[in-house]
Symmetry: C2
Subunit: 541 residues, 2 copies
């Protein structure tokens, strides 16, 4: 049986190696239009920054190593240009010579990945994407040729744009980050992205929100705000779209999301043709809809699953959560599932929890802070999504939440997780357990919460805001108009508090919770400002 | 309603604070026989080592702070000496004056913790435990008084013994570690404890296995092997037992494990009396039996749950996994669920997987190695337990596995976890996914494995051992008698291999898996040495 694979990196090569392990007799050819296979796409930005200094480290396998170990026929600089489904053949063009051949297949795997989204940056502007080994060769050569401090404009403040920014700064380049939207790191909700924005400023990045690049200008580019910023280099990282052209031309069904539609065995509407990776529509774990999630983990996993299907083993058909993580100047931002924006976009009911715990017990040196957001279905208590930003331990907590979601644990069940505790690693109640406690209190009605963006309206409607932090904390910065009643004095001062609705807040929400309990048992109508002063500050600024 | 709490640290104080939050009108008294409440037991060793330099950091709360915030009546230096269940009173003795009073209760919470196990070190030997603030005050004063390099003997190489060793070494003390058993870190299986043993040697610790202390000697102690080792200080950390004396005298039911028996609401056989923490028997998550697990996380969680029960909220009754973690000189060792020893002790069928992955993508600098062991029920594919030892990222992986176990995920389902990947944090297939792949291959019969301790018998029975690593790796160290056929040559050399049963191995098991696939499809009877050379070496030495 002969299998042809289009695309020789994450999804394609994972399918190839697994298929070989399952079937020594299979005839397996991999066509890759680029000059490299099995390269570390995800490492490319770090090579630009010099964090990965040896270019060879990016090339995890070569056609030769894959032939030796896996008896794969891997042909780089070979592009598949057409599929003849009736004849079960593909047309292959050698990109260097232009020579074309026809190759027959029994099974075809489409693993062509994604293409940079176009049409957002103006035509004619000399931009470069950051997607291939060629791209980083070009970028590093260009920067090496600049005398004095180089400058760059990065368009798009998503995952790859931000990784590009970090690495350019690390290399000493002056960076202007141009973002069309009103916040950096669009996958996050605005108040969670605030620390990322701050981190960019701390590292001297010139961040331009609500802005686009409109044209090239002398020595740089002109922005939509009329300014001209210097640019030896313009990196276009506004995002990617599934590369479905080959599939579409052959009549393979494309889903509403724009990705190739596959079943649980990665099979397309043509039973001889499978598809995997960034080009493919995933099934959303929250609502079962077709979505685009372009992640290496899924490409690798589904590549392997495709081989299993072809070898006759059962498919796995597991839905995707979209777990993702970004490192930026030592800050980590990670997410899983749906953001609040997306939930709102669907008009779906939800409950929100914000916390600001420490990575480990604060009595042990070196604890770092983080901000967490949990999104919950108020009816089922299911976890809909989470976002975490901060220092060490963010990656651990997002993975615990992703695992909890896969295991079907409710938000309240997070209280029951028995996580490893010694003071260097966690707290006796891990931040994940605490998220669960806060969620459980909301579910049980033990505390009522108010979100940062609801505060202004609640106060307009007559609610009084009580800041229960210490007098010192209050003096160092407060929400205008709040009255200060430190938590430890609240019982005595309860009789003096107004009768109407109260909103209490502290720094992060924890003392506010205790205050709310005291006051509500004292007969007052009270809500706790979720995430406290810190979330409010992040949200309003 | 009046609640009396016996013991004012993890379990007791967590119950007290939550009870106050739930009920402003409750009358809550906490009696603590020591001089401190709410202290960081888990931080004590690090104060000895000077890692935590401010003694005040150990004291998370004081009776005054707890009165101010939670209106708790906290009395230190007060020991509860008897319970009169009929009268619903306790006898309280002021430890300083000896004065006794009687206090009545509606609800009583026993949170007396554990006591050091006695009878193992010889009577009359001047040892000190490491359990209280007084202990560390004594230890640090004693060490401060030694001129020249101090020396210490630590008895017992469990969690607290090893933490004591690390901190004494960190302080410049010469340490002899005396362990009755044949390995350090008894909770681990022997081959997984090997890196811990090595790490102790690297740090100059004199480790004596299969040894006990028999008597004091001039300037030190005499060991069972006849030697005398120097000791300005002897720390006894052979373990703890539940402190059930008060409960037992009052006729409270003690479980077979030796801990107080409670139901899912932490209620004892007396409906007015609750118990929580180290003194209490836990329900094992694997088999539902009564077990002793003495961990701060459970004490905190069950303390809170006790308050919920008393306030009339539903109990939680969740079983315990025994997740635990140790830091030792930068090495991390963590576990969850059952060890292989324990499984064998129960005569239970099981499957084992060993892997040795990197903490993150190796193409990104700074990846650290770890060794993982997964224990699986071969019938249900349920995860029975796991052990991990290594550098960074160990804590994350054990927490993911603990969460997976709580969520009821099978070993094979670990392949489906969508964990956050960027190269600083993980690999496109996280080590947890890889554990799942290996487990799935065993479950499906795709590869057959052999454990390190089964190798000798298999070879005695005629199996031939084939080392599929490179010639260079083979030359650097190999299993005596193995023949070297590098993986990339195995297809050509297949005809030369003997017909009988083969065992293949590589460094960690991964290339062995591919080799086994090639050979078994070539018609040979082959098994892959699980965990490869590395696990075998750790096991046999
Ligand atoms: C800079 C960068 C950083 C990233 N960082 C992360 C990260 O940290 N974490 C993460 O999870 N993901 C990350 N990703 C995304 C991840 O790399 C992709 O999700 C993954 O590589 C998708 O796998 P794939 O097989 O679908 O596509 P690819 O790995 O992109 O492979 C597709 C290949 O197909 C080839 N091809 C296309 N059409 C044809 C044709 N007609 N004929 C022959 N060959 C063809 C292409 O040349 C390409 O090499 C990053 C991506 C980039 C570019
Ligand atoms: C050095 C050390 C390090 C540790 N490290 C970790 C770790 O890293 N991770 C982890 O999970 N766990 C760790 N533990 C274990 C953890 O501290 C315990 O599991 C937890 O404290 C148990 O809580 P508890 O409330 O049952 O008992 P404790 O917290 O021990 O409190 C019991 C209290 O009851 C008091 N008491 C007893 N009898 C009476 C009486 N009759 N009257 C009045 N008072 C009484 C005692 O004086 C004691 O203060 C460590 C323990 C120690 C000693
Ligand atoms: C590397 C690449 C070729 C895949 O190779 P692969 O051999 O299939 O995958 P891995 O190296 O992860 O090894 C996984 C295999 O080893 C096995 N394995 C891992 N550790 C093992 C161990 N200790 N013992 C036994 N088997 C083990 C797994 O079970 C799996 O085998 P299986 O699929 O037959 O179950 C492909 O992923 C690739 O090209 N990657 C680079 C591109 C990319 O992913 N880019 C995006 C991220 S930067
Ligand atoms: C500290 C101690 C007194 C417990 O105090 P506590 O107030 O009950 O517990 P925490 O400080 O963890 O706070 C948890 C509470 O804050 C709430 N909370 C946490 N973060 C919050 C946030 N951002 N917003 C709102 N509420 C929050 C939780 O829901 C929980 O309240 P609940 O129990 O009513 O649900 C007790 O654990 C103790 O004495 N510890 C020291 C001893 C010890 O544990 N030793 C062993 C480990 S070293």
């Amino acid at each position: 049986m002969k299998t042809i694979i289009v695309g020789g990196v994450a999804g394609g090569m994972s399918a190839a190696t697994r298929l070989r392990r399952l079937d020594e007799t299979a005839d397996i050819s991999v066509f890759e239009r680029g000059h490299y296979v099995s390269f570390a796409n995800c490492g490319l930005p770090y090579y630009v920054g010099g964090v990965i200094s040896d270019r060879g480290d990016l090339l995890l396998q070569t056609p030769e190593s894959l032939a030796a170990r896996f008896r794969l026929d891997v042909r780089v600089d070979h592009e598949v240009t057409a599929i003849d489904r009736d004849a079960k053949t593909v047309t292959v063009r050698q990109t260097r010579s232009g020579a074309e051949t026809t190759e027959s297949y029994d099974r075809l795997i489409l693993a062509a990945g994604a293409l940079a989204r176009t049409g957002i940056t103006p035509a004619g502007l000399a931009t470069r994407t950051l997607r291939t080994v060629d791209d980083v060769d070009h970028i590093t050569a260009l920067l090496a040729g600049v005398t004095g401090q180089a400058s760059a404009v990065v368009i798009g403040a998503g995952f790859i744009g931000l990784e590009a920014v970090e690495n350019l700064v690390h290399r000493g380049v002056h960076v202007t980050l141009v973002e069309f939207g009103s916040q950096v790191f669009g996958p996050f909700d605005a108040e969670m992205a605030a620390p990322i924005f701050d981190e960019l400023l701390v590292h001297g990045v010139d961040v331009r929100l609500n802005t686009t690049v409109v044209a090239s200008a002398d020595g740089g580019v002109e922005l939509s705000d009329g300014s001209v910023v210097p640019a030896d280099l313009v990196i276009d990282s506004v995002g990617v779209l599934p590369d479905t052209s080959l599939a579409a031309r052959a009549g393979i069904t494309i889903g509403a999301s724009g990705g190739i539609q596959v079943d649980g065995s990665q099979q397309t509407n043509d039973p001889s043709i499978y598809a995997v990776g960034d080009g493919v529509e995933k099934i959303d774990a929250i609502d079962g809809s077709g979505v685009l999630i372009t992640m290496a983990g899924l490409a690798n996993r589904h590549g392997r699953a495709t081989a299993d299907s072809i070898a006759g083993e059962p498919g796995e058909a597991s839905p995707a959560l979209g777990t993702a993580i970004l490192g930026l100047f030592g800050l980590t931002a990670a997410m899983v599932g749906w953001s609040e924006k997306r939930i709102l976009g669907q008009g779906r009911a939800h409950r929100v929890v914000h916390t600001h715990p420490a990575s480990h017990a604060t009595y042990y040196p070196g604890a770092e802070g983080m901000s967490m957001k949990l999104l919950i279905d108020p009816v089922t208590d299911a976890i809909l999504g989470a976002q975490i930003v901060g220092g060490s331990g963010v990656d651990k907590r997002i993975d615990i939440l992703a695992t909890a979601m896969t295991g079907g644990l409710t938000a309240s069940a997070l209280t029951r997780l028995e996580l490893a505790y010694a003071p260097q690693y966690s707290s006796a109640k891990d931040p994940i357990n605490q998220l669960g406690y806060v969620a459980e209190n909301l579910a049980a009605g033990t505390t009522r919460a108010l979100q940062w963006h609801e505060l202004a309206a609640a106060r307009d409607a007559g609610a009084v805001l009580v800041d229960v932090r210490s007098a010192g904390e209050f003096a160092a910065g407060n929400i205008p108009g709040a009255i200060n009643v430190p938590l430890d004095e609240i019982r005595e001062r309860l009789p003096d508090l107004p009768d109407g609705p109260l909103i209490v807040h502290c720094q992060v929400g924890q003392r506010g919770h205790t205050a709310a309990r005291i006051l509500s048992q004292g007969g007052l109508d009270v809500r706790n400002l979720d995430g406290g002063y810190r979330t409010w500050t992040a949200g309003v600024t």
